[in-house]
Amino acid sequence: MRWLLQKDVLILRRSRLLVALLILYPVAIALLIGFAISRSPSHPKVAIVDQTPAGETVRVGSERVPVSQYVDKLLSQVEPVHVATRAQAVEKVKAGEALAALVIPPNVAARLSSGTTQAAVEVLYNGDALQQSLVQSTLNSAIAQANIRFSEGIQQAAAKAINLLLEGGNLGVLGAPENLMGLSEIPPTLQRVVNRQPPGADRRALERVSSFANFAAQNLSASKDVLSTVGQPIQVKSALLHGRRTPLSTFAVVVAVSVSLMFVCVLLAAGGVALEREERSLARLLRGLVSREALLVEKGSLAAVCAFVVALAMLAGVGAFVALDWSRAGLWLLALAFGSVAFGSLGVAIGAIAREVRAASLLAFLLSLPLAFLALVPSGSVTGGLYGAIGAISFVFPFKASLQALDAAVNGATPSIGLSLVHLAVLTVLFGALARFGLRHAE
């Protein structure tokens, strides 16, 4: 096996394009992922038509909330391209100079101040489905955030007005009487007056007014709480039932490394076995010079070692951009080692079945790509039956188990790494047996 391994390393070294790819691929992917994760996302370019008059405010009782507060919040989420009219905005979107247009009509303040009608903004989209989806979700989020911010402003103004009604004081409105009595002061004042009244119709009438004032003061006080509930009726408090929370950035790293590990390993192992058939040397080797098992182990091991080094380089490279827990590096090595051996086993099975390198590479690629895709389908995004089928397919190939092992190693995610390693070991044996079956005929 030593001589066969030496020969394969020599052939690999002479395949300059392949070696260059093996070196450049992890570097390029690591840099791309690193930059993509470490840089904040760019804001979509949106044409803005702000038709609200300058200094426009929404009046809430004696308080005024500037409309610019709403507009500023919206603009902070996008790259604004200011235009004067709706027609100009439409032109910008049609010409591709902006991905969307946002029209803020002049009557926003008036409609809000009316207290009976909702204000509305208009959004116009263009671009392909992906761009639309990106812009739509960004704008929806921006509008939602601006709405919350604006409603908070209105809420605070309303609470202030209610407070003034309850506590009394100066309204600050031109012509309004100074030092007004607060609603909360009326019930005790009235009660003192009632106590001085002789029994009779006047006293009963005053008692009724006093109990109403008392009721009104209590409920008006409660209405401040109601306002905050209406402003944001449901707060989200999330809790993870098991495992630990995995940051999206480190999960993205795990996915990228697992995909690279799979592609490099499966393609190399499949190509290595198929090359022996293509060079017609397989029959020569298998007539007693090398056993079928030794040949498969050699091809799988070489591919696994190469893929392991590539994946580890990627992980270390991305680690320069993303905070990884280096104290878990021992577990990374374990997960990468088991994953690469399992992919090597899958690769030699593909190579043993295919008759030539091109067919083996194509088969390896066609199998690997959907496997990676299927393993990333989240539960609940498809019907239960379909998810079950996807789960079963993912279970019998090493990608998902490898992804889970690496996720557990890097992020401490569940299932535990031990379970995933056992899964990978079983798959290694199964695909090894399949490879041995595929290699039963040398020619």
């Binding site: 001589w3 002479r14 040397s281 029959a283 020569r284 080797l285 007693g288 010079l289």
Partner: protein
Amino acid sequence: MSAVLRVCDVSKRYGQLQALRDISFETGAEELVAIVGPNGAGKTTLLSIIAGAQEPSAGEVITMAPVPGARSRVGWAPQQPALYSKLSVAENLSLFAHLEKVADPGRAVERMLEQTGLSGRADERLDRLSGGNRQRVNLAIGLIADPPVLALDEPSASLDPGQRGRLWEFIGGLAKAGTSVVFSTHNVVEAQRYAERVIVLDEGDLVFNDTPGALMRAVGEDEAGDFERALVAFLAKRARG
């Protein structure tokens, strides 16, 4: 003549297809034996079974003279060169010398380079060699362990007349040195010229096993006559029953 190779009742079946049926013969040291027959007769299958590249469905192949230390008792040169195109001539030879567990691989490589006249091209990569030179390397790998039996499948198929002449001279030298050579060929003139014995296969059956002269006589041809015509007549006579 003592037998070096003994093929005993060898049969080979691929599913429903009977490729070989109860083939038995022996070859001796210093003997050159040609296997001829029409396409699909089973020549390549028989040679690959002799070489150990395929298992027979029934029967066995016995080689009498073991090579101390070496793994293969039968050297094999398949019809299509089985070589690594990204390795040089010397690297290919060295790899198989080590895999064959030859006692002194370096010396064996030098010997084969010398014998095949490839010493000047030892460092050239296989994918830069002509078809004839590739076939020489293919043959050299078959001989690297100095086996007592050599199985050659269409050894001269891709060679020009000059190269063919040198190849047969080389193979003749091997036979004289004690190697038992079994080769298949479509070129029946080569079989008549170089082989001491001809084995004729037809649809998986061994139908003739004797000297070329005996085959000529069997169809009433003069021994100096056309061997190809005699073979065709022999097969036609057999087909008629």
